[in-house]
């Protein structure tokens, strides 16, 4: 095969149209040329005027002139015409030659670029489309290069991350966009290994440092030179996530409430108190509070107290500070509750009313919410939640749910309160019955002993009417009989009073001084030294009558049995404890052997001293009854030959 054969073979087999032409027209075309122009054979092309191959026939002259001027051209763009008149774009390259006779001709190659043009036009259009999508959709689109960083982001991406323009992001490190840089590393590893990730929830970071939840998908592509690209999209799902979480939150809050209500339906009353506290704990932890509590109002006494409390570990308990508060003291809370309104204080320090503000601040409270517990339009108290560590705000829905909680608690507390009252009444009635029975035996005993003595004395006086000794005994016996009658009155009065005992605020020092005044005579006669150590404004919540009776009993006992020659000191002191006031009456007399008599001290009819038999065993019994009737208690310490101390605990 010689060279001209090879050339011809190439000419016929390549896709470009090859031609030779001189000024008169085409001399040679290859097969591809004829095909390109839509002619069945090369001959047919050569038979036509070459001008007809151009859309603008003048174009041919222009190109020939160019050839003559420059000797060649490359990729001249022209629009050509097929046989059927259809236009097509082509690129022509050509070289001019001169033969031995000085005649010129040129060879050229034509490439049909219609398809190419179309592709590029489409490419441009799709570029624009992509651009549009990129600009207008709500997802952040990006391309990043492994090892380099972000090289493209759309507008939404820029907005989503809070930047001003894409370049700011290109200048940043990619890990700056993640809340947790480790997460980016994990995603990259996964992308490299699996080629794609889809719909991952990732916590991302804005320019200002704030964070948001993004839904992220990405694919890996390999570009030229082995570069690895990650193309991806991010959707901001913060709102969706928030509403999901809110939904979950309400669902679990409802669960708490359902637990609360079902738990109590059949609960024995003795377990209720304990589980109210554990429910408060559950609710408190649920709303992320630091204290959860119940206060109960006493509308009669106009006082209110913290009755149940839960507090978080590390937070101070305040239940002891919140007893018997006056209802007119903190109007911010009380007035609203009485009208059935919840009180929400987002920032305690902004409270205008000074007394409430200072009280709440003294308990380290930043925010609080309280919801009244209403029973038949009456406010029984309130449920509340303190925030100590952080400020806390509550949504309408949360407040509503807390109201429901309060309603449930009202039922529980009412039920437990009623039952307790019933039980207390039963205990009181039983105690009263026992007391009356014991009392009737002991008084009848006292009566009968005196009457028996009267009968005996009457007999002996009959035979010896002038015996002075018998007459003295007669006098003693009748006065003892009188005492017994007085005791009956005292006890009957006690039973009457105990049922309608109205507690009042009694000044302790004044009461004690009054009793000492009553016994002034006997104190002076026996040269007894009384020392009182009681603060001037100390108040006991109880009954004046009982307190006088109690102190009178204990002080006269101390004078009678607690003093011996050379040791005649009686000390009366008082001090404030947590919720109570402790009053101590201390003597330095003979003392009582508590190892033997502890059980009998306060029993009706018990006596410990034979020295003077005037006692009928009523004093300490009545003292204990009266103390307990006021909600107090009594105890004693004693050591033989050292003395006795009575300790009384009263409501302050």
């Amino acid at each position: 095969m010689d060279a001209s054969q090879l050339l011809e073979s190439i000419n016929q087999n390549i896709n470009e149209g090859i031609y030779r032409s001189d000024e008169r027209g085409l001399i040679y075309v290859n097969h591809a040329f004829a095909k390109m122009f839509g002619y069945p054979s090369e001959e047919e092309v050569l038979s036509r005027s070459s001008l007809k191959l151009y859309k603008e026939p003048s174009e041919r002259a222009r190109l020939v002139e160019k050839l003559k001027a420059f000797g060649s051209f490359e990729n001249e763009e022209v629009t050509l015409l097929r046989k059927d008149g259809q236009e097509f774009d082509a690129l022509i390259s050509s070289v001019i030659y001169e033969d031995a006779n000085g005649k010129i001709f040129w060879d050229g190659a034509i490439r049909d670029v219609t398809e190419l043009r179309e592709t590029s036009r489409l490419a441009k259009a799709s570029d624009r489309l992509l651009q549009n999508i990129s600009t207008n959709i709500n997802e952040g689109i990006y391309r990043s290069v492994l090892g380099k960083g972000v090289i493209y982001v759309n507008d939404e991406f820029v907005r989503m991350f809070g930047y001003g323009k894409p370049e700011e992001i290109y200048d940043r490190k990619v890990i700056d966009l993640y809340l947790n840089p480790g997460e980016r590393e994990k995603l990259v590893e996964e992308l490299v290994e699996h080629g794609a990730i889809s719909n991952r929830e990732v916590e991302l970071k804005r320019k200002d440092g704030s964070t948001f939840w993004g839904y992220m998908s990405s694919i890996k592509t390999e570009g030229e030179n082995g570069a690895i690209y990650f193309d991806g999209a991010i959707r901001d799902i913060t709102k969706q996530k928030e509403s999901d979480e809110a939904l979950k939150y309400y669902a679990s809050m409802q669960k708490v409430l359902i637990n609360l209500s079902s738990e109590y339906i059949n609960m024995p009353v003795e377990l209720v108190d304990e589980s109210i506290v554990s429910s408060l704990e559950e609710l408190g932890k649920f709303v992320n509070a630091d204290r959860a509590y119940i206060f109960e109002y006493n509308l009669d006494s106009q006082l209110y107290s913290n009755t149940f409390e839960w507090y978080r570990k590390g937070i101070r308990s305040v239940i002891d500070e919140c007893q018997n508060l006056r209802m007119d003291q903190y109007p911010v809370l009380v007035d609203n509750h009485l009208e059935g309104k919840p009180v929400f204080i987002p920032d305690v320090s902004l409270l205008e009313e000074k007394e409430s503000r200072e009280m709440l601040q003294s308990q380290d409270i930043k925010s609080l919410i309280t919801v009244p517990m209403m029973s038949d339009d009456q406010c029984m108290g309130f449920v509340g939640f303190d925030s100590v560590r952080n400020f806390r705000s509550y949504t309408e829905d949360e407040i509503l749910l807390l109201k429901v909680t309060a309603e449930i608690l009202v039922n529980i507390v009412t039920r437990s309160r009623n039952q307790k009252q019933l039980e207390k009444l039963l205990v009181t009635t039983n105690m009263q019955n026992k007391r009356l029975k014991d009392f009737s035996y002991i008084t009848s005993h006292n009566f009968r002993s005196s009457v028996a003595n009267l009968i005996g004395l009457a007999n002996v006086l009959e035979s010896d009417p002038t015996n002075k000794e018998y007459l003295g005994m007669l006098k003693t016996t009748t006065s003892k009989l009188n005492d017994a009658i007085d005791n009956i009155n005292e006890l009957l009065n006690f039973e009457n009073e105990v049922s309608r005992l109205e507690p009042e605020n009694v000044n302790l020092l004044e009461t004690v001084n009054g009793v000492l005044e009553l016994n002034n005579q006997i104190i002076k006669e026996n040269e007894i030294e009384i020392k009182t150590d009681i603060e001037k404004n100390m108040i006991i919540n109880g009954s004046t009558t009982y307190l006088i009776s109690i102190f009178n009993n204990l002080i006269t006992n101390a004078i009678k049995y607690g003093t011996v020659e050379g040791s005649k000191k009686i000390e009366i002191s008082a001090k404030k404890l947590n919720k109570e006031i402790l009053v101590m009456i201390k003597d330095h007399g003979l003392g009582i052997d508590l190892g033997r008599f502890k059980e009998k001290v306060f029993k009706l009819g018990s006596r410990f001293h034979s020295r003077e038999s005037e006692g009928q065993g009523m004093g300490l019994f009545m003292t204990k009854q009266q103390t307990e009737a006021m909600g107090g208690r009594i105890d004693l310490e004693s050591e033989i030959n050292k003395g006795t101390t009575f300790k009384l605990y009263f409501n302050g």
Binding site: Y441, S444, N446, R448, S449, A452, R607
Partner: protein
């Protein structure tokens, strides 16, 4: 019986009862020696030193009451004596307790006079001869 009774102990915290009781008992047991103590503790101390034939024991007393004296005596080894519980109590449980206590001959209600002492002694003899 009277001839056998040599020592009688009267236990009561009521001074007047002790005077009147002594007068009554002297009439019934003119040859007997009569002792009085004001409460249970002194009664037990007395009985440590002295054996008596009859004890009249009050129930309601300071320091140590009649029941506690009986409890203590039950633990002791001692010469046999006739114990009469003397009381002005109307508590029915006191009578039940007295009846069921093996040391107690009988319960006598105050006032203590010749007739109720005699009937108590008779009752005891009757029950013993059954």
């Amino acid at each position: 019986m009277a001839s056998k009774v040599k020592k009688i102990l009267l236990v009561d915290d009521d001074d007047i009862f002790l005077v009147l009781g002594t007068i009554t008992i002297e009439k019934l047991f003119p040859d007997a020696e009569i002792f009085t103590v004001p409460h249970g503790e002194e009664a037990l101390e007395f009985l440590e030193e002295t054996d008596v034939d009859i004890m009249f024991l009050d129930l309601n007393m300071p320091i140590l009451d009649g029941w506690e004296v009986l409890e203590e005596l039950a633990k002791r080894e001692r010469k046999r004596m006739a114990i009469f519980v003397v009381t002005s109590s109307i508590d029915p449980s006191d009578r039940e307790k007295a009846n069921s206590n093996p040391l107690v001959y009988d319960l006598i209600e105050k006032p203590l006079d010749e007739s109720n002492i005699k009937s108590a002694i008779k009752k005891k003899r009757a029950s013993r001869s059954k």
